[in-house]
Symmetry: D3
Subunit: 138 residues, 6 copies
């Protein structure tokens, strides 16, 4: 019983995005990002997996209150990104391209202050069921 | 053995779209379409289910050649809509709003001439795993 | 374009239930319902698929407003059955055993008055991913 | 309540098969069936969806006893085809090529005598999650 | 080839449960556990992922006999918890609340003596597809 | 931002195989591998999860070019194993039995030279949705 336990909660948001380095030519962006560089945007159903790791409270048998965690994720992640254009509507992606890797890191940065500091936080983000990223964070 | 059989093939494309009647005010569009009216677009991973119904050839045991059907769907549906903005990049949606219902009907119209006329064609389109439409067509 | 279109919306609820005919002996209930007759209850994650069928409005491209449909399903189905004991908490199942077939029919009865009468309504209910029922209704 | 209800049960089996008309040349089989004509066989995880349609017994709330249906499917379908080579081990496919369409029809023929005659029986067979067939039968 | 390999096997059980600290007031339990504190119970389709980690036998290419592992999981986990009320029927949860975290730890304790001591054992438990826990154990 | 990120890409192939130690008797193979020892082969839809772990390029926000990774996996894994008999068609399994563990290790060996040496590579292989293996490699 001395091993840490992880609890996972899934969330989702539907968003448009474009992958392109602003200072690059269209050709170079197409070469690197292919169809994802379409200047008119495309989009995805993003599935977010939030992992919190730590020790279970012996009285309640829970690691973190899932009701509270669900509200935090809704407010901080879903309300922020759902039905948005990540490039145009979201200041988080002004200086960082909204790749699946970067969105994963940004969600970690957003949620980290809301999770007790003695618990670890990890984020996995599915851009499609066949293409996803994971940021184990701390 | 006299009943018709259906064969199904799944395909997918990732696209951006916006739901709004161009002649309406932003307020009226928001009231009707909610977050889907975001003028900067949002997006989805669309899953297309193509159904072809008819009788099996007794010698080959097949209804329609799946290799050929797969190529038709790739060329006519996936290449046309994948990584596109349905409102800006696709002439099919100049006069029709790209709702899940309309995209379903449009895909039926596109594929119908490519399927032998003695076979029925139906389309189901998943906008998300929890929100989808079906057009049984003919 | 003269064929009707269907739009589908998924919902879910987690509930406990027991399958047993009250007037039967425990032996007869065990013979018929097996482990499902456990008098202390067991439970499921129920997935509800709501289908509405009719014609698309040519101006908006929609069949029924999904925002409104979602609210109706939340209020009438999810709030009513989620985290409930179907046998003890839900008057709908006082005189009908909460089998997957009956729950399907009951959800149809509950939702029917809330859907415009010119649209058809069908319900599919997943008790598990491998065991489900469908009531096409009208 | 006068509409028929359907109950569905999923089953599965893992099998090898080859698609080729025995009297055809290798070239003609490759042209028609592509990689599926590999004479050394390939294989799939088949998912079978069995649908039984009829009226619910008002006392028990069930259409057909699922415990019994599960045993019939295990004995007649899973035990017969699981971990088999459909071409070499299964007499059902001596005169019929084991296409997804034909396997669907064969399963219907096998199960039909075991289902009460006042109930309809339909079979859907997934060869992969993206390629499947349906035989509505009677 | 010197890295350990993991083999995974899924199992499932359907059960009822209630989350509440017996010595707390109904108000405090509702505040902490929300709808999960319903004294009449609710339920879930639990999916168990059993992971065994170690080195592959060079002759057979297997880490642990999956046939045997499947039987152990059926007997020790599925038969014990399937179609049960975890609070009323299962002595494992007399002194521990059946939260997803605790059920995960309990399954690890139950299976650990049945797995060779040179192999590691980890458990992941899905309470719903969107809410799950993991206990990496040893 | 100093933690490594992982990017995942799914691929799949459908193949036949048999599990048996060539030097063993049929009885001993049946005892160990059960139905998987069928000398006429059986088959599966294999799902491959390729994980690449490292640091994100600050300019592009990507870890590895997914377009390129997809082509490598198609060429090196899918083209090699799809619609093949792993025992008869694939020299990789002449001296190693194609268990899910060994296929996982073999795919790691095949892909490792194609991934930049400063990035880690891990493979997970689903033989069925309920039976899978993972090789974390390096």
């Amino acid at each position: 019983m001395s091993y840490p336990v992880s609890i996972y909660r899934m969330a989702h948001f539907n968003a448009a995005h474009q992958l392109a380095v602003p200072s690059w030519s269209a050709e170079r962006n197409n070469e690197t990002f292919g169809k994802c560089a379409n200047p008119n945007f495309h989009g995805h159903n993003y599935e977010v997996e939030v992992r919190v790791t730590g020790h279970v409270d012996p009285e309640t048998g829970i690691l973190i209150n899932l009701k509270d965690l669900k509200v935090i994720i809704e407010k901080e992640v879903e309300d922020r990104f759902d039905h948005k254009n990540l490039n145009l509507d979201c200041p988080e992606f002004i200086e960082r391209i909204p790749t699946v890797e970067n969105i994963c890191i940004v969600i970690h940065e957003i949620l980290r202050p809301h999770i007790p500091s003695d618990l670890d936080l990890g984020i996995r983000l599915y851009e499609t069921p066949r293409n996803f990223a994971e940021y184990p964070g701390k």
